[in-house]
């Protein structure tokens, strides 16, 4: 089963390689990993999307907690949560396609953030399924490149992951 793990990590050199190294060394799956410093610059927040049986997820959780740089690990699957991913798509936009692409982008609540005479860059956020659906709805020939950030997750309501 797919799980979203939220981590607070010391913002130290090597912390990221320790975590990614753990996943490869122990043959755990990793679907996506996002990381950036929080409002406290000494702490980074990481969202890892992984999958496995309950036993495997338990092991992943324990091994992450065991890393000396990891301050906290929370499995967002344990409670209602929100996940979002940012995607940027560069598409070929010429002639009639320009209008059509704009329409599709609006339907998916995307925004065109860069325009040239032959291209658009469309920015879109949502969960992974929505972004997949948008890409499926486009003519494949028109897609020049896509960049996705991977999932960022946060628990709903008044639950907060703090030190």
């Amino acid at each position: 089963m797919r799980h979203i793990l939220s981590l607070l990590v010391e913002n130290e050199v090597g912390a990221l390689s320790r975590i990614s190294g753990l996943f490869s060394a122990r043959a755990f799956n990793i679907e996506s990993l996002t990381v950036a410093p929080t409002e406290d610059p000494t702490v980074s927040r990481m969202t890892i999307v992984t999958s496995g049986s309950d036993e495997i997820i338990e092991q992943i959780n324990k091994h992450l907690n065991k890393l000396v740089d990891v301050i906290k690990v929370v499995d967002l699957n344990d409670s209602p949560h929100i996940e979002r991913e940012l995607m940027l798509v560069k598409v070929t936009a010429k002639d009639a396609d320009r209008e059509e692409l704009m329409r599709m982008s609006n339907i998916f609540r995307g925004r065109v953030i860069d325009v040239s005479d032959k291209t658009y860059i469309i920015e879109m956020t949502g969960n992974g399924d929505k972004l997949d659906a948008f890409l499926r709805s486009l003519d494949k020939q028109l897609i020049q490149e896509t960049v996705r950030t991977g999932i960022s997750g946060i628990a709903r309501g008044d639950q907060a992951i703090r030190i």
């Binding site: 990590v9 010391e10 050199v13 090597g14 390689s17 320790r18 190294g21 060394a25 036993e55 338990e58 092991q59 324990k62 091994h63 907690n65 065991k66 000396v68 740089d69 990891v70 301050i71 030190i163």
Partner: protein, 580 residues
């Protein structure tokens, strides 16, 4: 909170040495090189920390490791950048797999050169990452003292392990105020010490309800200094106990309730009792594959209690019913308090029946071997050594058949006396480890049980032994084969002995003598006892005994990889008696 005088401005290299002094470090095992020359210059100008110059950095890590295993204090290593650091990796991994506290300092090229493929540069942090508990790269001299403090704290606390500190050369030349912190608080690292009281209560209830109980204890008991508690716990309940390879000595090996080591080369009675028990009490053990065999057949009737300081060890290989995360010593103390208060006691009738069954398994005498041969049986050498040392020596070993025989035939009555590479299985460990033990305990008898293949892997340390006068006894069981490899080839590869023999062995007697030590060669059973006696009587020289043993002897019992614990091969003679 300052140990040293406040306001002192020191160079990085001085800070390094002062920090070791303030940490109470007495011995550092190391080898100099370009990146650590400032540090070596400081070491030269003081006497509080003794530096032991090894002959290869692998030797330094094993020696520090042996020192740590024997004393419980962290072993300290100092190596230079590049090849100095990479040579240390095997020893670091050895310590990691057995949870041994080491602090390894590696020199690094100056910070402006990092990443430039400079002379003797390697990514020490990257290389060591998968085999250390934690590592640190020092970026400026102001971090040096506090990082050294953290390194010792992390290495020794919780589940211990090796910590590497990588120190660029310019950091050792820069200066700052020296402050050695007295305490450490790391928000991201707070190991659990006390076990959960509710879980402990449930565990005690289950323990008392057992009809066929089994205690399975490992190296964690030794690391937690919990032998005394384990002995009280076991004696109070009158339950049978087995130890893992790493746990030998935590419970007296000569005691009636001890039914031998378990696992691949464990005793028949220990493995059978594991297979048939109804409650398994795992204490500071990690359900290693050499212990469990086929997981699908492991302890099929048992409800399992697992006490371990490392939550990641719990339910990793075998799902457990009652996990208790905590320091083994604290948890056992809490359990003993509950047992004392509890009015219930184990079902004595069921227990008597269980002991009767165990004694029946025991009567097979699975460690029997032929004593009437002229050619020396390796088991006899270990038994005789046990007898002559009263079971009181510090015994290190290398890896292979001799290691298993040492574990089977030397009955360790005290913790920290049996020192071997259990997890990583590192050949070459024994001699430098023995040297490290002798450094810590110069007045104790230290014996390295080895084989001719393992011994040559770190033979260069004979030179260190001479320089620092560490008179250890090396008993090399020389069967002219890599015995354990040969045994597997005999059993599983139709006797195709591919590259498992040694065709050009040195004359070990003369080899020992050329290093300035005493060499002996023994090739008859009748001579073994007198020779061992003579060797043990030499207290001021290293003695290397080259004992020519039966080439074809195998280690029994044996559970083939992937088999269940009840599916043991017994020695041919024992198997016949079992059928009879």
């Amino acid at each position: 909170m300052i140990v040293s005088k406040a306001g002192e401005i020191l160079r990085g290299a001085e800070i390094f040495v002062r920090a070791l002094q303030d940490e109470g470090v007495k011995h550092v095992f190391g080898y100099p090189g370009g990146a650590v020359l400032h540090i070596y210059d400081e070491l030269y100008q003081q006497t509080a920390v003794e530096h032991i110059l090894v002959r290869h950095e692998q030797g330094a890590t094993h020696a520090a490791d042996g020192y740590a295993r024997a004393t419980g204090r962290p072993g300290v290593v100092l190596v230079t950048s590049g090849p100095g650091m990479t040579n240390a990796v095997t020893g670091i991994a050895t310590a990691y797999l057995d949870s041994i506290p080491l602090v390894v300092f590696s020199g690094q090229v100056p910070t402006p050169l990092i990443g430039n493929d400079a002379f003797q540069e390697v990514d020490a942090i990257g290389i060591s990452r998968p085999c250390v508990k934690h590592n640190f790269l020092i970026k400026q001299v102001s971090e040096l003292a506090s990082t050294i403090k953290k390194a010792f704290y992390v290495a020794l606390s919780g589940r211990p392990g090796p910590v590497l500190v990588d120190i660029p050369k310019d950091v050792t030349a820069d200066s700052c105020e020296y402050v050695y912190p007295r305490t450490v608080d790391m928000r991201s690292y707070r190991p659990t010490v006390k076990g959960h009281p509710g879980q402990i209560k449930r565990a005690v209830k289950l323990i008392l309800s057992a009809r066929q109980p089994m205690i399975y204890s490992g190296g964690g008991v030794i690391l937690a200094e919990a032998s005394e508690e384990l002995v009280r716990f076991t004696r109070q309940l009158d339950y049978p106990i087995t130890n893992t390879l790493m746990g030998l000595g935590a419970y007296p090996g000569s005691d009636r309730q001890f039914i031998g080591m378990l696992g691949m080369h464990g005793t028949y009675e220990a493995n059978m009792a594991m297979h048939h028990c109804d409650v398994l009490i795992a204490i500071g053990a990690r359900f290693d594959d050499r212990v469990t065999g086929d997981l699908g057949k492991f302890c099929p009737h048992a409800r399992i209690i697992h006490i371990d300081v490392d939550p990641a060890s719990i339910s990793k290989n075998v799902p457990v019913d009652i996990p208790i995360v905590g320091d083994v010593k604290h948890v056992l103390q809490d359990m003993l308090r509950l047992l004392d208060k509890n009015k219930r006691s184990p079902d004595s009738k069921a227990l008597a029946g269980w002991w009767q069954q165990i004694n029946q398994w025991r009567s097979i005498n699975c460690l029997h071997y032929d004593r009437n041969t002229e050619v020396i049986k390796p088991q006899y050498v270990i038994e005789t050594l046990y007898e002559l040392t009263g079971g009181d020596a510090y015994v290190t070993s290398d890896v292979g058949q001799h290691q298993m025989w040492a574990a089977q035939y030397y009955k360790f009555d005290k913790p920290r006396r049996w020192i071997n590479s259990g997890g990583l299985g590192t050949m070459g460990f024994g001699l430098p480890a023995a040297m490290g033990v002798k450094m810590a305990f110069p007045d104790e008898t230290v014996v390295c049980i080895s084989g001719e293949a393992s011994l040559v892997m770190c033979i260069q340390e004979l030179s260190t032994c001479l320089q620092y006068n560490t008179p250890v006894l090396i008993v090399s069981l020389n069967n002219r084969y890599m015995g354990m490899v040969r045994q597997w080839q005999e059993f599983f590869y139709d006797k195709r002995y591919s590259h498992s023999y040694m065709d050009a062995l040195p004359d070990f007697t003369r080899l020992a003598e050329s290093f300035g030590h005493v060499g002996m060669r023994i090739d008859k059973t009748a001579d073994v006892k007198a020779a061992l006696k003579a060797a043990l009587a030499i207290k001021d020289r290293v003695v290397l005994m080259d004992v020519i043993t039966d080439r074809h002897e195998n280690v029994y019992p044996m559970i083939a990889a992937g088999k269940g614990q009840h599916e043991m091969h017994l020695a041919p003679s024992a198997a016949v008696r079992e059928l009879a």
